[in-house]
Homo-oligomer: 337 residues x 2
Amino acid sequence: MTTKPKLTIEDIAKAAGVTIKTVSRVFNNAPNVRQQKRDLVLGVARDLGYRPNISARQLASKRSFVISHFHDNPNTDYLSEIYEGMRRACSEQGFYAVAEKLAPQKGSYRQALLDYLVRFEVDGMILSPPISDDVAVIREIEKRNIPYALISPGKKKKSAINVFIDEKNAGRSITDYLIARGHDQLAFISGLDSHAASRQREAGFWEAIEVAQIPKKNAVRLAGDFSMQSGFAAFDNLMKKAPHVTGIFAANDEMAVGTIVAALRNGKKVPQDLSVVGFDDSPFARAMWPAITSLAQPVNEMAHLSTQKLIEWVHAEALGQSRFEFSTEIIIRESCS
Amino acid sequence: MTTKPKLTIEDIAKAAGVTIKTVSRVFNNAPNVRQQKRDLVLGVARDLGYRPNISARQLASKRSFVISHFHDNPNTDYLSEIYEGMRRACSEQGFYAVAEKLAPQKGSYRQALLDYLVRFEVDGMILSPPISDDVAVIREIEKRNIPYALISPGKKKKSAINVFIDEKNAGRSITDYLIARGHDQLAFISGLDSHAASRQREAGFWEAIEVAQIPKKNAVRLAGDFSMQSGFAAFDNLMKKAPHVTGIFAANDEMAVGTIVAALRNGKKVPQDLSVVGFDDSPFARAMWPAITSLAQPVNEMAHLSTQKLIEWVHAEALGQSRFEFSTEIIIRESCS
DNA sequence: CGTTAAGATGACAGCGTTGTCAAACGGCGT
DNA sequence: ACGCCGTTTGACAACGCTGTCATCTTAACG
């Protein structure tokens, strides 16, 4: 069992004929190192297979090299995408990605965050809905001057990195799609109203209807909460309130699945009798049968970029550009006639 | 902005009137500290709100305090449960839980693991299926003497912590349930054959049939791969091969969902025309309509215990008891007539 | 060429903890 | 009271890196 000799910065310095400080500079992308030496050091380090010791770095620099994602979203697929995007960006930069579920107390995540920060050090944080809209949380973060990024926030913050899609426009375009396929009796199944995104998607829904000059009474709003169950319930509701509806826009895929299953149970054919579109392009949408037409947002990329920008912010100790809009795409599948 | 003074071990030592080494001993549960001093130090530390600095600990002790879970399982709910169980155990002990998805190369996860270990230090690892059965991976781990735990391994290892349920017995009992409800025309939808668990569940299925003296020809095996799509396909297959079947046991919930959706599409009522049971008690099972009767294994608890035992192993530098069997439970819902 | 200032490099003291080993303590048998 | 030995405590040097500040180069300019 050959115990690896565990290289230190000193070994590299010796091998490259410089001092440890120069090696340190190279590995921190610090300025004032001749390009030639930089290459030399990197070459030697690569050949020997050297990796800086994280703990020593943390201890000496008083940074944690940790980017933490705080969330409270039961959608594990969404979380996985975010985590994967973070992980990619972090490992490129020698940082660590961590995910932490926060539990609200009296509607705010403030206390949970504080509890966390007592125990752990983070260099930067990423917040996703609904935490990205918790003003008490944001106040605490700003008080501590911790760089942070908001994914899909309801309100953009000047002093943060904001990564988002145009939710309203996305809602508008997928509704337009439904209308273009000939539907003029429509329903929107909402998510939780506490999620700004749901409200904005709905705004897009109504805008599309107005622009298409469809009478408002031909469209109905059904309350949901992003869960599959609420999709079942929404369908039942629909049958009572507006059985003539043929096109449904659910604010997320889970509810779309619920709606479709409920429809099948009631002997309706999808998409022949009822067209349903979802939102998020989650595995649900891909896996369902019929596969669900859905609006895809590049969550993984969004998390990747936020993390990159966050790390730049940590290094530069200053926030650069703060708003990054991503474009969306309608993934057309079979749930729409 | 009151910058927290950042307590060090020295502050505690001073406040308690001992040296830092004694404080260190207390925080490491080291032997040879008078109980009275131990209490004193702990009291002072609690009052002042002291937390040992992780990086310094890592640096000085050459341990990472990281327990890593290596997986390659698309079921994010399963992964979340494991992670949560690990996180609980870790935070109790001042350790860190990390999850890493490994990608196989030529059927083995060995290279992916090696790539990971070059970059990161771990004190212990947890492997879940299918990696828990990759002999090349296990060989590498043992070569390095890293404590490790296997969740639901196909073959138990003497030199590892094994945490598992009796898969065969579980398969047997849920099939018994189906039989007890009057079904004598049965089908089993398998998962990936590379997962030992699927094979064992199937063995239980056939055992139940044999014991109940149901003719073998009244039972059929349909190949699946744990995905919802394969559940759709399995149903189609079933209609061709054995349309008289009334009771289906799917090796996981996703396939159960797929089967039910396909059945609904084909005008069959669940559970009136067809009974379906799943396995894992995943959110799918809870959320589906009809909600699916499923076999629950305490994944969270299993991960929690593995992590605890792993940390004990790290501290003691020796493996104690190595086998921990967990019991399962049939969660009865509405998918079975 | 000498001067100067910016740029490149180095020496060295921490960072907060644990490991090692030596010293002090305390209980027991005589 | 003395010596012995196991238990408890302490002093101090690591651990591998970065921050600070001093020193040495270099290139540009007069």
